[in-house]
Symmetry: D2
Subunit: 352 residues, 4 copies
């Protein structure tokens, strides 16, 4: 019963097979191979637009590299205060941008709003003594498992345009958000004003790759050099591209995300019915955030359930109120067995 | 007949199998898994010393990250002017060190010497206006396929100690050099004064990983944060560690290197006998550098041979002298078929 | 009637004279002159300890350079959210530290407390995914004109030691704070746990220089190179050193600060008595923060008073409550004429 | 008899007076003052074009900041291998550009040529694995006291345009070069293709300031933020601007340079006639480079002459050939007394 992270689970068999399938022969290195060429076509098809796609081995690398195309050393990125780029990446964006500033905003459900951004921008009153407001970064699905609607993204996208800012999306759980909304990839991104996307693959069944997707080709201009300089150009590029390609083909990415989301919905609903348990955040993708009473937490630990106790976020929902209560983050993944979710619920019910 | 790059070839079947073998179950992410723990033990066994090992997805990342532990923003790295870090990595070391300076030295066979280094250090006459001389980086095997002897490394290692400098080894082709010398990994590294090693895996049969190995634990102190900040911490760490582990187990790395080196030796010897062909550099590992007369070059192209024409290095051997002559770099890899080498030689002989 | 900034005023005549006095002859450049040597002695005398002192042309440069000796690329500085380094320096610390993170904390009167810091440090729960907590930076006097007591600094200094962190003091208004407390420079700094100080000169009568003072010589080790690399080594060093030396000699710095503080105390007391005016923050050094009703603000503007309307800080005192009210920052400097302060008060009284 | 550096001498009295003259009253800080406004007009008049001018306290800061507008992290600057930015600034350009690469070229008289640059650019054969060739930087007058002709600059400017590169001029000794050529400031800069200039003031009579001048306003767009971030925005801006303004007014800068150049010409001619002395480089501005035989060097030392013994540059002229010979750099400044030059020559003659 491992609910600690999407990354705790392995790799979709289809992706392992794809790696074996491209293994024969000698091909161009550093992305000069046919698999990489096909990935470009497939990604453009998925997004209904000619996009520039660059595999990058990690989500942190994808975020930092894509933001470095938008944010100068003296610039600022506005993001949620709980954003992965702000609290989990040890200064990666700051390194790649040469010393920029991340400005974290509060916001319910780990989400920014156009209103909150407008208010913060009004605080830029020092002229050239303020950093240049260069970009907004949103996470879809968010760090609290919530999902921006297309309308919410569009409102932020419009705000960015009006203020000469770029919009970046950290899509570490892009597929989970997409199937949650039921819209198209285009609607959730460039049609809503997104300029660049960190396209998550690893968490939802990949092995060692995510990808950066640019919807504005101007941002992609020097990206080959940036990626190489960061050490993120993969020498045997076919093995990165093959992962992303297999992930997209035959809707593997959507199937994987649907499995995870549906387990999360089920777990969330049943957990909310357990006496003493309070949902902290509405479950919209593949993560459940719930406040567990001490005896339930203890019973789950005894039953071998693995999950993280989250630092309570006081703006977004109920928090631990009595000693021993915890705010549990339960991540459901493409690889989580339904039986594990069932066993978890039974242990919770048994304790209450 | 592809002799363009070690990276043109695929992945050793044993490594593909190892990836499939670790795929089951849920384990700790970000390196908190058993495979990664075993890798630490295995690497320490290989080097006969407790070492700190960190998988990193690329050689460029390995070089830049390991040098960043030794070289401050205001420091300098002395390396060969043709070193990969100096001419092929688009400023990666400079980025990771926050703006340091790479000082490229000339040297026969793409090798530094203790004498050459001593002479260059004598040019640091400006006191605090010179950058701090922080590290020396050598490539083993070198960019011209030559190999430093243990004595040569030791002389450079001693020089570094005397001058308060660190010694880094770019071991993108570490195994090829090792089997060429026939010494132990310990003798070629820490016993000779090497502080940190970029341990190459990809070029010699890996998929998407190299590794940084520290022989001085002080350098490893903050490396987890550096690697994360660079975006080089792999979320599903078992798939990086499994590659390196399979590479080391059952001497796969040594067998692969022996195959490549032995093909290179054979190709080199036979090519040198072709009329009009001159070897540019003594073949010591898995690369052959040869000046080809125009008609031989043309015949090889017609026969479908793929290889790079190298920018001539005027200090290290014969150079193209008549129009149409080229300095060809021929890379033999673990995956190169002996038949391809034979076919290449026959085409060359046929043309002369 | 200019209350906009300490920087609006000119230079103490004694400092102008000192520049002329060192103008004769040819001397060593880049700090190799006798004036610079004397400055080192004088500063050690002032601080009752052998200190290392380095003139730097600006306060921003002093802050960024001194923090760069303490904070690695993957580190974090804890400071007040309104700290000058956080909101007025356009990412200088981030640039000089190679991409570090400034973590702004709330706190009454623009002051950090040991308790607030302890609470924030408890939020470092992500292990190596959090930046390394490297330093705390406090501003003395603060951005709201308040002053840390020696006990408050000591509590923060102790906290830093316990947590392996360094303590930096931004002393842009160091002299104003010092005469406010009536303690010795040693008591306000190294005896309380301060490791490095940005020693302000410009705001209190200097021309183009502040200085960095290190109380721990280990931090000074590479500072000559850092300062040169930042472009902050002054070629004709005598003219920087002469400013600081004249500033310290004959208690010019203390006299200047006493003048400014005493005008501020007087203005503050009389302003608080004006009907409708509320003091926002207790006046402890040379700045007065007051909420002015619309008609008073208008009358002052009409009378030609120049001052900044501050972004309201909601945690620290009264804020503008009706349309037209402003939070005014009034800075009194060594050069402000008492008549100007009197005229200001009369205009305020006349309007009420 | 100090010939060590232009920076060994003091400040022109006119500049000291100008500082005193702007000292009265309260004015806008950070460059919002009338003196700074007048400087903009004066500089545009000098260059016969609307230019953007920004005082910066040092030449190193001016070089690094101006190049940071042209050179990305993954870019390269081509310069002479002996250029001040390459060997005397401890990595300043690399820091400000976020990790770029300086590529040093050989060249007689410390000068680049269009031919040498063309040849070096032909070595950019690795596509995106090479850094982006972003800028060329030339020093006028050079580090060996030679001067680029307008034709030479124009040839380099044309080459830059053809290759999509920018041209930067390090004008630490701009005035010395200008009076040497006898052309206009416009002819020596933007009319010849220069995009940005580090305009030297300190060495030729200033106190603590140089300035950056942009001939292409696009480069100046974010310069206020860059300068602040680097810590190079002077709070009491009038004192920086007043120095530059006084330097330009009444031809002070040209008169100072003429004095220094004429002493250098005289010293050079007479020194060349001393038996055993060989001129290393043709004297064109205010520096004389000469190889001195041991007994002459000794006699000059005994007579109290102060000068630097230069690291011999083997491409540019005679070098020390017997033990005890030195390559002496003799700098003549606006403040050098003619009597000192005479005394030097007499001591040299007396020894031979």
């Amino acid at each position: 019963m491992n609910f600690a992270s999407d990354n705790a689970y392995g790799v979709s068999p289809e992706i392992i097979e794809a790696l074996a399938a491209v293994n024969a022969g000698a091909v161009g290195s550093y992305g000069g191979d046919e698999t990489t060429a096909r990935l470009g076509e497939k990604m453009s098809e998925v997004f209904e637009k000619d996009v520039a796609v660059f595999p990058v081995p990690s989500g942190t690398g994808s975020n930092a590299l894509s933001l470095s195309t938008m944010v100068p050393s003296f610039g600022a990125v506005l993001c949620h205060e709980e954003a992965h780029i702000n609290v989990d990446e040890c200064g990666a964006v700051e390194l790649y941008c040469g010393g920029c500033k991340l400005i974290g905003l509060a916001g319910t459900g780990a989400k920014l709003t156009a209103e909150g951004l407008t208010e913060r921008l009004a605080g830029f009153v020092r002229g050239d003594h303020d950093p240049r407001r260069s970009a907004v970064s949103i996470t879809q699905a968010t760090e609290l498992g919530t999902v921006y609607s297309v309308e919410e993204i569009t409102a932020i996208g419009d705000l960015c345009k009006e203020n000469g800012m770029r919009l970046h999306m950290d899509g570490a759980r892009f597929a989970n958000a997409l199937v949650s909304l039921g819209c198209t990839p285009a609607e959730m991104t460039w049609k809503a004003g997104v300029d660049a996307l960190s396209f998550g693959v690893t968490k939802n069944g990949g092995m060692i790759t995510d990808a950066v997707v640019f919807f504005d080709s101007a941002l992609a201009e020097d990206f080959d050099r940036r990626r190489l300089q960061g050490g993120h150009l993969i020498a045997k590029g076919r093995y990165a591209s093959a992962q992303v390609l297999a992930y997209l083909e035959d809707d593997l990415w959507l199937d994987n995300a649907r499995h995870a989301n549906s387990l999360a919905a089920k777990l969330s609903a049943r957990l909310a019915a357990v006496e003493g348990v309070r949902l902290h955040t509405k479950t919209q993708a593949n993560e459940v955030f719930a406040v567990l009473p001490p005896h339930v937490h203890q019973a789950l630990q005894d039953a071998g359930a693995i999950y993280h106790c989250w630092p309570p976020n006081q703006n977004s929902g109920p928090v631990p109120a009595v000693p021993g209560e915890v705010l549990a983050r339960l991540v459901l993944s493409f690889g989580t067995a339904e039986a594990d979710a069932d066993q978890f619920i039974e242990a919770a019910i048994g304790a209450s």
